[in-house]
Every structure is written in C-alpha cells, then in structure tokens.
C-alpha cells in the first residue's frame, strides 16, 4: 500500500438485504490520521456501511478497499488490523473487565504476557482501574462502552471503527467517552465513527458525511458543511397564541430561509439580532426567542427537511 493511498476507499458501495437497499451506492475515502464521521438518523445505513468496512458483511455492489485490501478476499487479514466498537455491546458479562480484554487479545494471536500488559494499560486509559477485577454484568452502560472501546484498541489497530459510541449514555458518561476518543485522535489514531448526535460529530470529526436513506447527501468538515448549507446564525421562535403555520407567511422575507418544526420556527440569517428586530417590526409576539450559531443539526434539516434526533 502506498503512502498516499487512503486507508478506506469505497466507490458505488451498495448493501442490499433482499429487496431492501440499506446503502445505495456511496463513495468515500478515509485517510490515515483522520477522524471521519457518518452523521445520520436511525436507518440511514451507517451500521451497514461500518459492518462492510469491518469485513463482517460482504458488499452487495460497488468496490471497497480497506488498508489496501479487498474485504471479501482478505477479511481476516484486514480484521487483524481493525479495532471495532460495535453498536450493540458484545462483552462477556461473566468475565471480569480484565479477562474480557485478555480473552479478546488472544483472538488476535497476541501472546498472553503482552495481552496482560496491554489490558492493564487500556484499563487505565479508559479509567476502569477500580473495576478491573469485577465481572462486567453489573457495570453501567458508560463503563461497558468504555470497556468496549478499550477492547477495540487491544490489537493496536490501524483504524478504529466506532458505531454510535455514546448512544444511550447520560451526558456525563458521554463526555468521558469523548475525552478518551479525543486523546486517541491526538495520538494520530485513525477514527471512523457513526453518530446521530451533531455535537458528537462536531467535536470529534475532522471530516464527515451526512447520510440519509442509504445515500451520502453532503460531505466536508463540520465547519465547511455549516458554511455551505446553513447561515451563520439561527433564530428559534416559539409562539403560544396561534398555530405555528399561520406565522410562516407573516415571517416571509426575514433572513435567508425558514424551517417550520412541530414546536418552533427556525429563521436562518447571517445576523440573528437583525432578524429578531425584523420580527419585532412586524408586531409578531413570539413566546420565546433564541439566537444561536448554526450547527450540523441545521445542515441536516436543510438537506433532508427532517431533524436528526426526534
């Protein structure tokens, strides 16, 4: 594999389950040292894509190369150099934290002594030292997730695949995971992650693709995407007096774009305060007004007409 060749390259990648197309022809490249994200709602095809990259699910069409190899023919050799944190936990609940890591390391043919040493280092890295000799069963969701991430690192992988690493965690547990992932990123580990949390994508990803209905609808860095598909600021308006849709016409012309959501109206404008002033000029009385910067959520809304997390 040459230096310039991307670690992951997909062209026209397709995954079908029977008649159903989960991934409908996507192109992407991930380069060494990048933190690459798939942002999209449930059912977008993120996991299906990750499982093809992880060489556990053969592509139905298109081409895919991982670490310069063909996943169908060299699956085992590729998997030897991947670290995978699947969407659904697959830890052995009867074993201890430490045993889970050692047992998994042995799957990669790592000698017992090295496995023990790495297990200790990784337990410390994910801050589970106090629970190292406890069985996994009673651990919290966040701890299990951190252990799964530690497990994905046990073979010192060239690429770490993380499928929704923080879904279902409370904010505190989520921040702890982000912190660890950020450290990995700083060490130059290539990360590929999926998420439907825009803040996660914004914080962790150098570059990401927005996926919807099995297709990639946009690609770029979080900042590029926001610049390209949204305005600098957003005004969130709520009205208590009448049905929201009656305000759509009344707000026309303010800002560049308007989105009607079930509980609020979003006005996209370069300058939020100016837009708020314009609303006041029209004698409309919103029950609440919030001016904020655009985020990936707004990008997604613009691209698909839907919100990411319902």
């Amino acid at each position: 594999m040459s230096v310039a060749e991307p670690l992951i390259a997909a062209h026209g990648l397709v995954k079908r389950f029977g008649d159903f197309t989960a991934v409908a022809g996507i192109d992407l490249e991930v380069r060494a040292g990048e933190a690459f994200g798939f942002l999209g709602p449930n059912g977008a095809g993120k996991s299906s894509t990750m499982r093809m990259i992880g060489c556990v699910s053969p592509p139905t069409g298109g081409t895919l190369r991982v670490l310069g190899m063909d996943p169908v023919r060299a699956g085992s050799a590729i998997r030897a150099r991947l670290g995978v944190c699947p969407q659904q936990d697959s830890l052995d609940p009867e074993l201890t934290v430490r045993e889970n890591l050692i047992v998994y390391a042995r799957y990669f043919g790592i000698p017992r002594k090295v496995a023990r040493q790495r297990a200790d280092e990784l337990i410390e890295f994910v801050q589970l030292t106090e629970r190292a000799d406890d069985t996994v069963e009673p651990l919290s969701g966040g701890m299990k997730r951190r252990l799964t991430i530690a497990r994905a690192l046990v073979n010192e992988p060239a690429i770490v695949l993380l499928d929704e690493p923080t879904t279902g965690l409370d904010p505190q547990a989520r921040h702890l995971v982000w912190e660890r992932l950020f450290q990995l990123k700083q060490r130059g580990v290539t990360l590929v992650l999926t998420t439907h949390y825009m803040d996660e994508a914004e914080q962790l990803c150098d570059r990401l693709v927005v996926m919807d209905g099995g297709k990639i609808v946009a690609e770029g860095s979080p900042r590029q995407l926001i610049e390209r598909y949204s305005t600098r600021e957003v005004v969130e308006l709520r009205f208590a007096e009448a049905a929201l849709d009656t305000y759509v016409g009344k707000l026309e012309g303010i800002g560049e774009r308007l989105e009607l959501l079930p509980d609020r109206i979003l006005l996209y404008a370069a300058d939020g305060d100016l837009a708020v002033a314009a609303v006041a000029d029209r004698a409309l009385r919103p029950s609440s007004v919030l001016v904020r910067r655009s985020g990936l959520e707004d990008v997604f809304l613009h691209l698909t007409g839907r919100t990411l997390v319902d």
Binding site: R51, R79, S90, E94, Y107
Partner: protein, 254 residues
Amino acid sequence: MIRPTYAVFEHQLVAYRRTWRGSVLSSFLLPVLFLLAMGFTVGGYVDRAGGLSVRYVDFIAPGLLASTALQIAVGESTWPVYSGFKWHRMYHAMQATPVRVTDMVRGHIGYVLLRVGLSAAGFLVVMGLFGTLHSAWAPAALPVAVLVGLATAAPVFAYSASISTEGLFAVLLRVAVIPMTLFAGVFFPVGSLPLWARILAYVSPLWHGVELSRAATLGTATAWGVWAHLGYLAVWSVVGYLLATHRFRRRLAD
C-alpha cells in the same frame, strides 16, 4: 491454523475457571448418585429376577456413562451457543477479529468435549471404585464418551445456531434427548422394545455409544461390531460439524 481456534477454546476455559464449582454438582455428583441409586436399589430387584447375564449395576453403569456424556454435550451446546448469538453476542465479537467461523465452532466444541471428558473420567473412576469395570478395555470408555459428546454436540450446535426462540430447546429435549435417554439401551436392552422403537434406538447416536461403552467396561461383544458403531458416531460428528459451520455462517451473515 490452530491459533484462533485455541483462543476460542481458551475463552471458554477462562469462563469455566469462574463457574466450575457450580457445574460439579450437575456434571459429576448427580450422575454418580443416579448410578448408585439405580444400580444398587433397582438393581437389587432386577438381579433377583435374573433377566440379565451381569449385575444390573454393571449393566447400567457404562450406559449411564454414555448418557452423561450426552447430557453434558447437549447442555453445553444449547444455551451457551444460543446466547453467543442472541444475548452475549460472543460470536459477533469474535467475528470482528481474525477468528473464522470454523475456529468458533471447533474451539467451542473443543471446550464442550473437555467438559464431557472431565465428567466421564470422574464417572469412570467411581465405576472402578464400585467394581463395575470388568475388562482391560475399560479406559476406552473415556474416548467413547467423548465421541458421543462430539456426535451430539455438533448437531446441537447447528440446532442452537438455527433457532430464534428459546422455546425450541424444550422441543429438542422432548423429541430427542429424553426419548434417547430412556430407550437407547441405557436402562434395559433394546431387544425388549417393539421393532419401531428399536429402529429409533438404532438411529440415535446414544445407542451406539452405549453399545461401545458397555463393550469396553464389560468386555462383551457389541451388537453390530465396534467399527460399525464408531463409524456411525463419526457420521453424526462430521455431518453435525458441517451443518454447524453452515448454520453459524448463515446466522452471522448480513
């Protein structure tokens, strides 16, 4: 390549190190108690009636050895395998590593056979202590028990990898395991069964194991000849193994 296969085996050993105490009761003490109770109480009546050419305890001991192998093989190939796909997802974890399906099946069955072998060895020692071993071939009953384990574990692996509801384990027990235990010659000679039931006994892997086991500990001849019984158990093993890898692949593919 043995390495990933061995890693799968080792995983089970690590788990066994935590749970072996609990399994001593079911996989050693209970079978032994059963042998003593049946052999020396029921045996007293049977021996007085004089229907058998050997003591009843000598007759059922090798049969119980084979049926213990069957029980352990089935027990270790049902829930643990099912859970590996459905709950703990152990096989899914392995799938993301260099471990291949053949490694999963071989490594895990290898562990099941170790469990069968350990129990069978303990059982054989008890048989020796109670004077039920009457042939120099008696140690051969151990590999026979392991072969019975393989001939039943392999197809049960395939079964457990195919079903999607636990309720179907009860079906396996009622339709295959319990009838086999009762009618495959463990407690009485199959010759006393009606023809249709005898045919079912001949089809079951257990009857062949019982024949071999009895031949080993009593030094008697088998019904069809040693090689025929060994060959039949080998067929169950090989077909079961091929089915198991096929079903594992199916289950993990999507």
